[in-house]
């Protein structure tokens, strides 16, 4: 009998109360769908944060002046970072960890083209290695070269926003702009990265370091040194290399008294990821609660069913149905409720994840689909076991007398 017959009885039992069964399944459906969907939203937002940080370049390390400890800044005379430091890093640091080094000066100036005047977010003077390290790609035209740096040529690469502001629909490549009184030739336009925060990364003018120093900042300290690690895995090694080299050039013995700071995109990424993880866990918890409520719905309806069918249970027992068969019958019914509900919930969750929710494109986690389905089925078994057990342990005479 056992499996097929039990299944048939269960389907018959569910079909006898279609609306009730459908509503109970709806509870499970909503639970499962919300688990899948909310986790997908959490995952999607974490993916978005990750992408925006990755677009800054995960392998890049930023060295800036100032004490890492912060407290010793007042006592020790802070030595500024110089081009010499950058050169030392480029030549002395282990090349298996450090791929490239780019000193960076940042300033601001007003750009003029014809009668259009515009102040870009920042004017950056650096080496060509900067483009790769900072994940800045030229979309049109070309990068400036090492020759341009050596020759202090007045060439510039514009960010997408700056180019749009100054040239509108005109092709900027080859045109001359005047930046703070100095004429520059535009050699390239960066591909737009899209904003991921308050500052627009596309609102920038990038020019060779000596040119910018000559025109604006003077040949003193640089603001930052951008270092590219050879891979995401070697950032830690690169960080210790930088520390070693710079402690040498700055003649500092005690590493805790270092007068520079190294910030790491990867650590930023980890911090942001832990935030979004919390977010995902919260969403998951809310969804899990709704799944639990769906499970309680099953218990509720199965209790009603058992009460309603007490007489039928009595008849079956009088005909010699063993306890296990009655137990199996009601367990099958509740499990069937949860399996069908969960199946529909999975479908609803996956369909729903194709729509963007509050600006976040949900990304379904495959484990969440399996997990939610499995948990829902387990809930059907668990929450169905109480009513089923109650049905199975009814005394036949009491069950038969039940009206």
């Amino acid at each position: 009998m056992i499996l097929w017959q039990t299944l048939r009885f269960a389907v018959g039992g569910l079909a006898a109360n279609k609306v009730r069964s459908a509503l109970t399944m709806l509870g499970v459906l909503i639970g499962v769908a919300s688990v899948i969907l909310l986790l997908a939203v959490g995952n999607g937002s974490s993916r978005a944060v990750k992408d925006s940080i990755t677009s800054l370049g995960t392998n890049s390390l930023t060295v800036s002046a100032g004490s890492a400890a912060g407290g010793s800044r007042a006592t020790a005379s802070v030595k500024k970072l110089t081009v010499a430091d950058a050169k030392a890093l480029a030549s002395e640091a282990d090349s298996s960890a450090v791929k490239s080094v780019a000193p960076v000066v940042t300033t601001s100036a007003t750009a003029l083209y014809g009668n259009v005047s515009y102040s870009p977010g920042s004017v950056v003077g650096t080496y060509p290695a900067y483009f790769e390290t900072a994940n800045q790609k030229v979309g049109h035209g070309d990068y400036f070269t090492n020759d341009d740096v050596l020759g202090s040529r007045k060439v510039a690469v514009l960010g997408a926003t700056t180019a749009k502001q100054l040239f509108d629909t005109e092709d900027p490549v080859g045109k001359k702009i005047v930046l703070g009184g100095t004429p520059f030739t535009v050699v390239g336009v960066l591909a737009a990265k899209g904003g991921s925060g308050f500052t627009d990364p596309d609102d920038v003018v990038i020019a060779p370091l000596p040119t910018v120093q000559n025109a604006f900042t003077g040949f003193g300290a640089v603001n930052q040194i951008l270092v590219q690690a050879s891979s995401a895995d070697t950032t830690t090694a690169a960080q210790s290399e930088i520390t070693r080299v710079l402690l040498g050039t700055h003649a500092i013995v005690d590493p805790t008294k270092a007068d520079f700071r190294i910030t790491n995109q990867a650590s930023l990424l980890t911090a942001r990821e832990s935030t979004t993880k919390t977010f995902t866990v919260l969403l998951g918890a809310v969804a899990a609660i709704s799944l639990l409520v769906g499970g309680i719905g099953i218990t509720n309806i199965m209790l009603v069913t058992v009460t309603e069918r007490t007489r039928e249970i009595g008849i079956r027992k009088a005909l010699g149905a063993p306890r296990a068969v009655i137990l199996g019958q009601f367990l099958t019914e509740s499990t069937l409720l949860s399996v069908i509900g969960a199946g529909l919930g999975v479908a609803a969750g996956i369909v729903g994840s194709h729509f963007s929710i509050v600006g976040i494109k949900p990304v379904v986690i495959p484990e969440s689909v399996l997990g939610a389905f499995g948990i829902a089925v387990a809930i059907g078994l668990f929450f169905g076991s109480y009513p089923a057990n109650r049905a199975a342990s009814l005394r036949p005479i009491d069950a038969l007398r039940h009206e």
């Binding site: 009998m1 017959q5 018959g12 006898a16 007489r311 039928e312 009595g314 008849i315 079956r316 027992k317 009088a318 005909l319 010699g320 149905a321 063993p322 306890r323 068969v325 005394r395 036949p396 005479i397 038969l400």
Partner: protein, 267 residues
């Protein structure tokens, strides 16, 4: 009607049912109600319990007004209820010592029930109803179907196998219940006012079926409060207030049931 009498019924049958000093009471203390008590013990008000032997192949009608304890007796005989005290031997087995699993087996194999209110499983076809006890006994599907169809044909409902209870008349439902009771070939048929809800024609049909079953050697215990029905039995017990007050034999144990005998004589 022509019925073949089973010659294998032994001349001096061992009792299929033996109950001794059986009592059943509900409630506690002063509020105790003795549904089955038997005679009082000499000098006290304590119930001594009911003693009863029913022989293999007998056809016993238990009569009494409502509250006389006849339904309680039937429930205990059918292993649906447990006595408060006393012993119940079914085919020599002390039922009091069986656990739930074994009791389910006893109900399934040894006893066939027919209830006043038919007690068919709702939303289930006649065939599936009759298959049910076989399914619980673990009989294979094909064999189950064959035996169930045979039982339905025996009660004249072979054509109605696919009907659900709400598509059958009361008499037909009760005949399905009889088919369900006999399909496992139990030693004993317990019928609790099987004709209580039926019109006179259906009553005759159902009693005819039960008579026929008894004629083939099956022990029948039938509960009723109608003399008409009791006339079909070989032995009539009367219960009043939980005691057997009269025990009348209407026909020998190893003969045909009186109704069939009469029919045979008149034919």
């Amino acid at each position: 009607m022509q019925h073949v009498i089973d010659k294998r019924v032994p001349a001096h049958p061992v009792p299929v049912i033996r109950i001794s000093r059986l009592t059943k009471s509900y409630g506690h203390g002063d509020a105790t109600v003795h549904a089955l008590r038997g005679p009082s013990r000499p000098g006290t008000d304590e119930p001594a319990g009911v003693d009863l032997d029913i022989a293999q192949g007998d056809y016993v009608a238990v009569m009494g007004s409502s509250g006389s304890g006849k339904s309680t007796l039937m429930n205990i005989l059918g292993c649906l209820d447990t006595p408060t005290s006393g012993r119940y031997l079914l085919d020599g087995t002390d039922v009091g010592h069986l656990d739930e699993q074994q009791l389910a087996l006893v109900r399934n194999r040894r006893i066939g029930f027919v209830f006043q209110s038919f007690n068919l499983v709702p939303r289930t076809t006649a065939l599936a109803q009759v298959e049910l006890p076989l399914a619980y006994a673990g009989v294979r599907a094909a064999e189950r179907r064959r035996r169930a169809m045979a039982a339905l044909s025996l009660v004249g409902l072979g054509e109605r196998a696919g009907h659900k209870p709400n598509q059958l008349s009361g008499g037909q439902q009760q005949r399905v219940a009889v088919a369900r009771a006999l399909v496992t070939a139990p030693a004993m048929l317990l019928a609790d006012e099987p004709t209580g809800n039926l019109d006179s024609r259906s009553t005759e049909e159902v009693l005819g079926l039960i008579d026929g079953l008894n004629a083939t050697g099956r022990t029948v215990v039938l509960i009723t409060h109608e003399d008409e029905v009791a006339r079909h039995a070989k032995r009539v017990l009367r219960l009043v207030d939980g005691q057997i007050v009269s025990d009348v034999r209407q026909a020998p144990v190893d003969g045909p049931p009186p109704a069939l005998h009469r029919a045979g004589v008149s034919a």
